[in-house]
Amino acid sequence: MEGVAIIGAGQTRYGDFPGKGVKELFAEAYLEALKSVDHGLDPQTIQAAYIGCLSAGSGFQLGQLAPLLMGHVGLPHVNAVRVENACASGGFALYTAACAVASGKFDLVVAAGVEKMRDVSSSKGRYWLGVSGDTEYERLAGSTFAGIYALMAARYMHEYGLKREHLSMVAVKNHRNAVANPKAQFRREITLEQAMNGVPVAHPFNVWDCSPTTDGAAVVLLCNAKIARQFTSKPVYLKGFGAASDYLAIHDRNTVTSLAATRRAAAEAYKQAGIGPSDIDFAEVHDCFTIAEILAYGDLGFCEVGRAHYLLENGDTQLDGRLPVNASGGLKAKGHPIGATGCGMACEIFKQLRDEAMEPSRQIKNARYALSHNVGGSGGTAAVFIYQRGDES
């Protein structure tokens, strides 16, 4: 298997951009990624593009979105395909791109994601998200994604003594981290009191437990590790990548306090990288709802399943803790443009591992290994990546 390196990455700011559609968002991220390649890159040498997207503005261009976007940036003849696994679409685009390079078939590919969520009404948005879960039973119980994650949270509280306050600690931390991130949707802090007393959504969640609707795009440029130094002296290596599935519906799973897809994807990624959870210096994890970050701590091996709230109490996952999680602000505060999220995490890690986090206050120092984790829906799919900085001798 060939080694895989990231040589460039770019993303739009996440937020609400009525003046930009999927094409404009994608182009902005792509051009930023191209510009980030230190020694330059001839776009015509790009061989393939894998673009994650759930609905492209709720069905605006469901079919053949990838060639539409590539044609918009002067690459109409590239082998381009849309990748869809709900909220993990970007992660699976990155995974597919990494496999394409690792196989030796291609040397230089684009992994990207884009979502335009703010063009549609909130009810149409909820429709599109809802039909990415189990439509026949979960949805017809009157539930939503928030409702499904709420079932996990209530059970976690019952089994492990997690408190309402712990959920809010995730939101407070991630909002604090987003303040210094120029790419984040919500660059403002919230207090624990605010986070615990928001408008109810699905018990035990209030609005501060939920990620927002977001417009955004992210683009990552991958190449065969053998040629990475043609492009930059500071590549970031993708040392491990794993992806897995689970039953789509929550009622089909053995447990609801752990995501089997995450555990399997993480095991694959750690094995390939030859390292373990204790080697990870920082991580970007999928916090679509506050409980999701708590589940991730256990499933990624940062602690035992059921003990995640102690990491929060100790401040271990804060920016200045021993294992910063979601330094970007996470899905909660950086934002969650569905298809873009998985690639946006890779952009954040690429910048951090090259000491280019823009604002010095948010730069994680002396990091060698990082991990990103992207979940589809309530855990029907998950992808995990392990990155290693490449400027070491």
Partner: protein
């Protein structure tokens, strides 16, 4: 815009939605609900016999969907009731299923409470009222 479950699609699941028909795997003996092509327990059995589930079980987990957080096809329901509970129920035959809880108790819902299935109106789409199961406390 609601979740689109076409009339034929709903019709195909009538045995499950009206009568809680599950399938017992002829290989491992365990009960699947909703039905699968291959048993979700032994992952090999593909022959089944139909069994009618009792509808009795206990609350495995629960949530309360707030008025503003309901999916569009349940928005009117949520407006009338203010909010409605959704429960994940572990049935006495083994499977877990998800449905609404009717007549929620004033003093609150908790995990482990015994419930039984009841036949109720679920929602309306394409001019056809869709019926199915919900749960109530025993």
């Amino acid at each position: 815009m609601g979740a689109h479950i076409s009339i034929p699609m709903y019709q195909r699941a009538v045995p499950q939605r009206y009568r809680l028909i599950g399938q017992r795997c002829l290989k491992c003996g365990r009960v699947n609900f909703p039905p699968k092509a291959v048993c979700k327990y032994c992952l090999t059995g593909s022959e089944f016999e139909n069994v009618q589930l009792s509808g009795r079980g206990t609350i495995y987990s629960y949530t309360i969907i707030a008025g503003g957080g309901a999916p569009p096809e349940f928005a009117e329901d949520a407006r009338c009731k203010g909010s409605y509970p959704v429960v994940l129920v572990e049935l006495e035959e083994g499977p877990r299923i998800i449905a609404q809880l009717v007549n929620p108790p004033g003093e609150g819902i908790s995990i482990g409470m015994p419930v039984e299935a009841v036949f109720r109106r679920i929602y309306e789409e394409e001019g056809v009222i869709r019926y199915g199961f919900k749960f109530r406390l025993v």
